[in-house]
């Protein structure tokens, strides 16, 4: 994978993903952190595109940047008196150490192993994914759809108040 487009794309997207991820941590306002999170989702989708995973990239934009971010926005809206200053707990230093440890460990592992083999050549993934989802992994597919149905019903049931329909406009993605 050495064509200049992919190299430039990879470095740009990777830099954007890591930069916006850092800014999610460092932002001083919860909604700024949410905006940076959306940018990181979009840059991850760009990274998936450099890996020729076109279906997953579009699904990432649809689900993560399009729906889960809107869910988080609604959650922030529905908690008006909660603090929105994106502060750190007292466990932030051990958390940072653990995070640094994990990243260093994975990085060391990646650098030290001699990875083999050439890249596979995907032309299009959507046909193959569809065949597998309805072929080899059909049970997991059905269970995932039942899971989504339960999550949908559960989320609606959880936030319903007992008396009347006071809470309309609930996002139930």
């Amino acid at each position: 994978m050495d064509s200049p487009g992919i190299v430039i794309g990879f470095y740009m997207m990777a830099g954007l993903a890591l930069g916006s991820g850092t800014l999610v941590f460092l932002a001083r306002n919860l909604l700024h952190a949410l905006a940076f999170l959306v940018i990181s989702f979009l840059s991850m989708a760009g990274l998936f595109l450099t890996l020729s995973a076109d279906f997953i990239a579009m699904a990432q934009i649809l689900i993560y940047a399009g729906s889960i971010s809107v869910l988080m926005v609604f959650a922030v809206m529905l908690t008006p008196l909660a603090s929105r200053d994106n502060g750190n707990t007292i466990y932030v230093l051990p958390g940072l150490l653990a995070a640094g440890g994990i990243a260093t460990f994975v990085g060391f592992l990646a650098l030290d192993t001699s990875w083999s083999g050439p890249a596979t050549d995907f032309t299009t993934t959507i046909d193959l994914i569809g065949n597998l989802l309805l072929g080899k992994y059909v049970l997991a597919f059905e269970i995932a759809s039942v899971l989504l149905l339960f999550a949908l019903i559960g989320a609606i049931m959880l936030v319903q108040t007992s008396s009347s329909d006071q809470e309309e406009g609930e996002a139930d993605d």
Binding site: H32, A35, D54, F55, M58, A59, G66, V73, I126
Partner: protein, 476 residues
């Protein structure tokens, strides 16, 4: 300048005395008439010459074959490969030049439409309302858009005091991102689409879900309760109507067997049918849901002037508000292009695309769909928010899903049945139309079985209900 500024004649007489276009054309001065007829004869002769070239096949694939501008790019690619340049520079150039040309084309289409679109829309709405639109600024009011743009540019930029600086400046630009990105997979000709993605349909749906975040940022950053309320209403409407769009496009993908937009257009051309004839309910659902996505009448409750001042962009002044108003127009032609590509056959026209360039056919279809949008805007009143949400969740989504199941069964039969196209596609169209109509009637009867539609409830004054404490009275 019009002469009837204060006319006392009744409207029917004004209409009867208004000269038709033919009369006004024949009344032009003689030299202009001579020039027009010479141009007409020249145009006819050029069409005959083009017809001869097309039929004799001398034009196919040459770089000057303007029926498909991709031919020029392919010839350029060939020239670059055969030249003596370094291979990396050659490949970079071969990638860069078509990309830049295509991007310039798309931005000029959107930008050009923003220049003449407001004029077209206002004159057309005026025509529907039997009045003249803007006709003072420049000949026929053509400079009206320029005047509006200059007015917006010179306005004072008022930033609300508690506004979130970072989130306030992003939305006017961010709403344009889906409006311009959506043009990428649309095929203008067999070899002319900017990025013919294998997952084009998914790309379209994903891009349309990005506009929601810009609306929210605009409403939140204004530090204004009412802007936030308007933004919440608009967001609720936009995410509710994403589902009928996805289900309709799913029906399209089921029938054509591909998510690639160029293959959808080729399927329609090979089978000699437009998808709007096969799955009419999906086309209508796509059209209506798209007007809700782009916040256009009759679904512009989020930003209508008489309802909530300007909804989520109330606190934006000057060109920022101008960008929000402009993106509605840009989104309108994007939806026109998508509707034409998916349901109206794209750049094909049952064989006419070998004569007239495909992009002109597509431009005509976009114009027709846009005319439909303006027609709907001029005619229908806007829906209330709870009516809109009820319509989406209670009617459009269940009926779309049920008809999509039917389309799935039909598409699997279509693949396996060995009958001429006329019979199988005609049968599918017939079954779809009857089932859509039947399901609509049955479902509406089920939904409204508790209400008496012949006598709608009369509005009750708040004063009679108990004044400002009416909510408490209602709750009992």
């Amino acid at each position: 300048m019009s002469e009837n500024t204060r006319s006392a004649t009744p409207m029917s007489r004004q209409i009867a005395e208004h000269h038709s276009l033919l009369d006004r054309t024949l009344a032009l001065p003689r030299p202009i008439l001579v020039m027009l007829s010479v141009l007409l004869v020249g145009f006819a002769m050029s069409q005959i010459a083009i017809g001869y070239l097309v039929i004799s096949g001398q034009l196919d694939g040459k770089w000057y074959d303007i029926r498909d501008l991709g031919n020029a790019m392919i010839s350029l690619d060939g020239v670059i490969q055969n030249s003596e340049m370094d291979s990396r520079i050659a490949s970079t150039l071969a990638y860069l030049i078509p990309t830049l040309a295509g991007a310039t084309g798309i931005v000029s289409i959107v930008g050009g439409w923003l220049l003449i679109g407001p004029w077209v829309e206002r004159r057309l709405i005026a025509k529907f309302q039997i009045r003249q639109g803007p006709n003072r600024t420049g000949p026929f009011g053509l400079l009206q858009t320029l005047a509006d743009a200059l007015k917006l540019m010179q306005k004072e930029i008022i930033i609300p005091s508690g506004a979130d600086r970072f989130l306030y400046f992003v939305p006017p630009v961010a709403v344009f991102i889906p409006a311009i990105l959506g043009w990428a997979p649309i095929p203008w000709s067999p070899k002319m689409s900017y990025a013919d993605l294998d997952v084009g349909v998914l790309f379209v749906i994903a891009i349309s879900s990005l506009g929601v975040l810009a609306v929210f940022m605009a409403g939140w950053a204004s530090n204004n309760h009412y802007s936030l309320l308007g933004a919440m209403r608009t967001i609720a409407m936009m995410i509710s109507y994403e589902i009928p769009i996805s289900v309709s496009l799913l029906a399209v993908v089921l029938l054509t067997g591909s998510t690639k937009l160029s293959e959808i257009v080729l399927w329609q051309s090979e089978h000699g049918v437009w998808l709007v004839m096969l799955i009419p309910f999906a086309a209508l659902a796509f059209l209506f849901a798209s007007t809700a996505e782009i916040n256009r009448t009759p679904n512009d409750i989020g930003e209508a002037e008489s309802e909530i001042v300007a909804g989520f962009y109330t606190e934006y002044s000057g060109m920022k508000a101008g960008l929000f108003m402009g993106v509605e127009l840009a989104n309108a032609i994007l939806v026109g292009a998508l509707m034409s590509t998916f349901f109206l056959g794209g750049y094909t026209m049952f064989g006419l695309e070998t004569w007239i360039p495909g992009y002109l056919i597509l431009a005509t279809k976009i114009g027709l769909v846009y005319f439909l949008f303006v027609w709907i805007r001029a005619t229908l009143p806007r829906f209330r928010l709870d009516q809109l949400m009820g319509f989406a969740w209670k009617f459009l989504i269940p009926v779309s899903i049920a008809l999509m199941f039917l389309t799935a069964i039909e598409s699997s039969i279509l693949v396996r049945w060995d009958v001429p196209n006329f019979l199988s596609l005609g049968l599918i169209g017939l079954v779809n139309i009857t089932s859509a109509a039947g399901l609509t009637f049955v479902w509406l009867r089920v939904l409204f079985r508790d209400t008496d539609l012949s006598t709608p409830p009369a509005p009750i004054l708040t004063r009679e209900m108990g004044g400002l404490q009416a909510a408490k009275v209602l709750r009992g």
